[in-house]
């Protein structure tokens, strides 16, 4: 009997080819848009988070207790227990260490407040891939560590370029002002606050400049599986004396909110797809059932159970939904793949995007849950939209259905 039900459902769809194709196209186009937007928006948020975590906060940032409130140079992390943890914990992918101090940068004509970051180039490359953010010059501190890498916006404010001389000054550990003359070897653009005020110099040079023989201000930790391990590792690290352990979303709560807002946005779009698919299928199914009232009446008269007729109608609705989903997924998946590989170039909006910490080339992400959510939305729409015509049919008597012209 299932073969007959299947045949009746399929035949109904192919009898009304134009109408069926219209609904399938509607679902496909909606899905195409949904998948593309979801992937693009999630990619945008992921990019923003990546920029922040790779360049500034890591997945986890470790400071000395009280540092984030006081910003005192003397509040340094110097813990053997921490070093052991970082080296041995299998959940940690990499880490890098920074010495930080507020200071001043000056050129011949300009001066600006800055934050000096004493880093190890190799550590940063391995951990945060800071090298990827270089837009001009080299990822290098040149010979004898006399180079500096500065943020793009800072360079612009100083009217400085590669090779320009700068003087950096800061208060050292004995509360004296130390200075150093450097040349700009690289300019980076991270789309974070670093672009405005960061000057990266060699960590050992920073130690010499600030008279900090040991200890560091910040440890940036990158995890192998951020989503799974971050809270647990934060708890483990917080157990080590003298440390403050911050997750990236605690340092950048606005980013977390953006992520959460985006998730809600994706749900809203899924709901809209559900409505569009549902209304489209409902329209076609209602007409399809009304056109075949007599046929259904004959089937009921012959002894067909109402549930079997319900199966035919549901199957029709599901077939349309599946075909729409399949088509939409193919186009949506292809679009996502293209956007993931090549991105969407929004260079004409670059200034606005940079204000929000976004790159001008937006790349999409592809996640399986996009397709699962879309499938669920479309199938639910098919089910709900077939219910009303079925209810209408259920109330009618076979004899009155047979007499329908």
């Amino acid at each position: 009997m299932f073969r007959v039900i299947m045949k009746l459902a399929w035949a109904s769809l192919s009898r009304r080819r134009g109408r069926s194709l219209l609904v399938i196209s509607m679902i496909a186009v909606c899905l195409w848009g949904l998948l593309s937007l979801e992937g693009l928006y999630d990619g945008m948020i992921a990019q923003m988070i990546q920029n922040a975590t790779r360049s500034d906060s890591g997945d986890i940032s470790i400071f000395a207790k009280g540092y984030r409130q006081n910003n005192e140079l003397a509040e340094l992390v110097d813990s053997a227990a921490l070093d052991k943890f970082l080296k041995n914990d299998g959940r940690i992918l990499s880490f890098s260490k920074r010495i930080m101090q507020s200071g001043l940068v000056a050129t011949a004509h300009y001066a600006r407040n800055i934050t000096i970051y004493g880093i190890d180039l190799t550590e940063e490359q391995k951990n945060g891939r800071l090298n990827n953010y270089i837009v001009s010059g080299e990822y290098s501190f040149a010979n004898r560590s006399k180079g500096a890498i500065i943020g793009a916006e800072l360079a612009s404010k100083l009217s400085a370029k590669i090779g320009s001389k700068i003087i950096i000054s800061a208060q050292n550990m004995v509360n004296e002002v130390s200075s150093s003359a450097l040349k700009i070897t690289g300019i980076l653009k991270t789309h974070t606050v670093l672009d405005k005020n960061a000057v990266f110099i060699d960590r050992q040079k920073t130690r010499d400049l600030l008279m900090v023989p040991r200890g560091i201000t910040q440890v940036l930790v990158t995890l192998k599986n951020r989503n799974k391990d971050i809270a647990v590792i934060q708890g483990d690290l917080a157990g080590i004396d003298g440390l403050e352990v911050w997750r990236w979303d605690e340092i950048y709560p606005a980013l977390l909110q953006s992520k959460q807002m985006n998730e809600k946005f994706n749900l809203i779009i899924s709901f809209l797809v559900f409505c569009v698919a549902g209304l489209g299928i409902f329209g076609v199914m209602s007409v399809s059932v009304l056109e075949r009232m007599r046929e259904f009446g004959i089937m009921l008269a012959l002894g067909t159970k109402f549930s079997q007729i319900g199966s035919i109608i549901m199957l029709e609705a599901f077939l349309m939904a599946i075909m729409g989903f399949g088509t939409g997924s193919v186009f949506g998946g292809a679009t996502l793949y293209y956007l993931k590989q090549y991105g969407l170039n929004l260079a004409i909006f670059s200034k606005g995007l940079e204000a929000f910490g976004m790159d001008s080339v937006m790349r999409a992400v592809i996640r399986p849950q996009y397709f699962f959510l879309a499938l669920a939305a479309v199938m639910l729409a098919a089910f709900v939209s077939a219910l009303l015509p079925l209810r209408f049919l259920q109330r009618a008597k076979p004899v009155s259905l047979i007499q329908t012209i």
Binding site: V4, L8, A301, G303, T304, K305, Q308, I402
Partner: protein, 223 residues
């Protein structure tokens, strides 16, 4: 106890403020294996009576008892099962399922009853041969003439070996030659397979084929 007892059947249709009495206190007994016709002019209540016998419509009062089981008042799902298992229908307008082939239409009720494919195939061929439509089994309804479609409808009605076949004006849309041919085949099925057949008609030539004639006039049996 007769094969089919029709006891005090009345049917009144309500249309807004108006009431129409289609049937008034019909009492009939039909024997097993009967080949009976319900005759009468248009509007006399023939179709209404057939619909009530077949459980497609409920009477205002009275009872239909088929082989000792009262059908009136049964819930719709059980009534549908009774129609599936005990009663075959032949409609005036053939009413074949348009997307199924002749063979699939004939098999339809057998499939509803859960017959296996091989058993369905054998019975379909057997009935198709008796009705002279064995060469049409893979055709769709829109590829057949009216007479051919009606024969497929008869085949569908009898294929699952029901106790009773109800045919509402089965020859109304056929030419006289096709009508005569169809009636002969139905008579033959009645005699060979022992299926009780009740049909309605107002055509004297068709009525003449029946063994038992029941005349309805103005909703009552005309004695």
């Amino acid at each position: 106890m007769a094969f089919l007892d029709i006891e005090h059947i009345s049917k009144t249709f309500q249309n807004g403020a108006y009431q129409t009495q289609a049937l008034a206190d019909i009492n009939l007994q039909i024997s097993k294996g009967e080949f009976a016709v319900i005759s009468g002019p248009s509007g006399s209540g023939k179709t209404t009576l057939l619909n009530i016998i077949g459980g497609l419509d409920a009477p205002t009062s009275g009872a239909i008892i088929l082989e000792g089981e009262e059908l009136t008042g049964l819930p719709e799902n059980i009534l549908a099962a009774r129609r599936r298992d005990y009663i075959g229908f032949v409609f005036q307008a053939y009413n074949l399922l348009p997307v199924l082939t002749a063979a699939e239409n004939i098999e339809y009720i057998m499939k509803l009853q859960g017959w296996g494919q091989e058993k369905c195939n054998l019975r379909t061929l057997e009935v198709a041969k008796k009705l002279g439509i064995a060469n049409l089994l893979d055709k769709l309804p829109n590829q057949m003439s009216g007479g051919q479609q009606q024969r497929v409808a008869v085949a569908r009605a009898v294929a699952a070996k029901p106790k009773l076949v109800l045919a509402d004006e089965p020859t109304a849309n056929l030419d006289s030659k096709s009508a005569a041919s169809l009636m002969a085949m139905m008579r033959s099925l009645n005699e060979e397979e022992g299926i009780t057949i009740i049909f309605s008609s107002h055509d004297p030539l068709v009525i003449a084929q029946a063994k038992l004639t029941i005349t309805i006039k103005d909703g009552q049996v005309d004695k």
